[in-house]
């Protein structure tokens, strides 16, 4: 039983490691900035996730106590990963993307990043916009 459990833990750690490596490899391999953004936001989630599951199982089985920190790490990761990705994507739009590269919105307004007069959005939200 102990041995089976060790195999499970080892498998989880190996799977986590593989996904972390694939995420970093994607960062090297993919050619454009927006494509590179995909590898670390996705492939590493599972890498971190399986390491955390392995840690929870370890404490539960060997130390006989339930550890909750892993759940908190998962929660914080899920809250921060999309926001970081969105910030990087926004920076990329501002610095290196032309308006003509993007598809039309289809509803008559511009994408918020390229709209010179974002009027229908609450002005309180627009502190970060450069007036020039």
């Amino acid at each position: 039983m102990d041995q089976i459990f060790e195999y499970i833990l080892a498998a989880l750690l190996v799977i986590g490691g593989i996904f972390a490596i694939v995420g970093s490899f994607g960062l090297l391999k993919l050619p454009t900035m927006m494509q590179r953004l995909h590898a670390p936001t996705k492939a590493t989630t599972l890498g971190v996730g399986s390491a955390l599951i392995a840690s929870m199982l370890y404490f539960w089985f060997y130390e006989n106590k339930v550890s909750w920190h892993e759940l908190m790490i998962t929660l914080f990761l899920f809250l921060t990963a999309p926001i970081t990705a969105n910030f990087i994507a926004k920076a990329q739009l501002h610095r290196a993307t032309d308006k003509s590269d993007l598809p039309p919105t289809g509803v008559g307004t511009e994408w918020a990043t390229f709209d010179p007069e974002v009027s229908s959005v609450n002005p309180d939200l627009l502190h970060d916009r450069d007036p020039g």
Partner: protein, 163 residues
């Protein structure tokens, strides 16, 4: 009285639970500390929460979280396969304009986060009227089907939960 102390009951509950999880063991002292935090933090952040996010179906929301976790696992495998086994020139990336019907800002935020965490898509921007999301897809030979998936799989469920 209770309403005044806890203007956002769900937020307060979430804070109590997170504090207890951070402490990692149950003691009366940490419960008291958790309740103090659950009273102070919603008060301090009240300007950012002008109205209560209407979370109507909590079981449906739990089901949504499980669905998203499952999709994240699938997304990881899918992106790993694209990174490892596809030649760069065969990867067809592109921008998608995803029209959304959701109205509440909380629901749109969750939808945008979900899109970023799941199969090969990252939410990048929004139209200035707030009715269209700009999504970048890593490999989307058929953009229409990706948009259809997002709308039926995630948006329809969020609509039921929040509106």
């Amino acid at each position: 009285m209770l309403r005044r102390l806890f203007p956002h009951p769900l937020l307060s509950l979430l804070l109590v639970v997170s504090w207890l999880l951070l402490v990692n063991q149950f003691k009366i002292g940490s419960l008291v500390m958790a309740v103090i935090l659950a009273i102070i933090i919603p008060k301090l952040t009240a300007p950012y929460w002008p109205n209560r996010p209407p979370l109507k179906h909590i079981p449906a929301f739990a089901a949504y979280v499980l669905l998203v976790i499952w999709d994240i696992v699938l997304a990881n495998i899918q992106v790993a396969r694209i990174v490892l086994f596809m030649r760069n020139e065969n990867i067809r990336s592109g921008w998608l304009a995803v029209p959304i019907d959701l109205k509440s800002p909380e629901a749109i935020t969750i939808l945008a986060g979900t899109i970023t965490m799941t199969p090969g898509t990252v939410t990048s921007d929004m139209s200035s009227c707030g009715r269209v999301l700009l999504v970048h897809a890593l490999h989307a030979p058929d953009p229409a089907s990706v948009i259809h998936d997002i709308k039926t799989r995630y948006e329809a469920r969020l609509k039921r939960i929040f509106e």
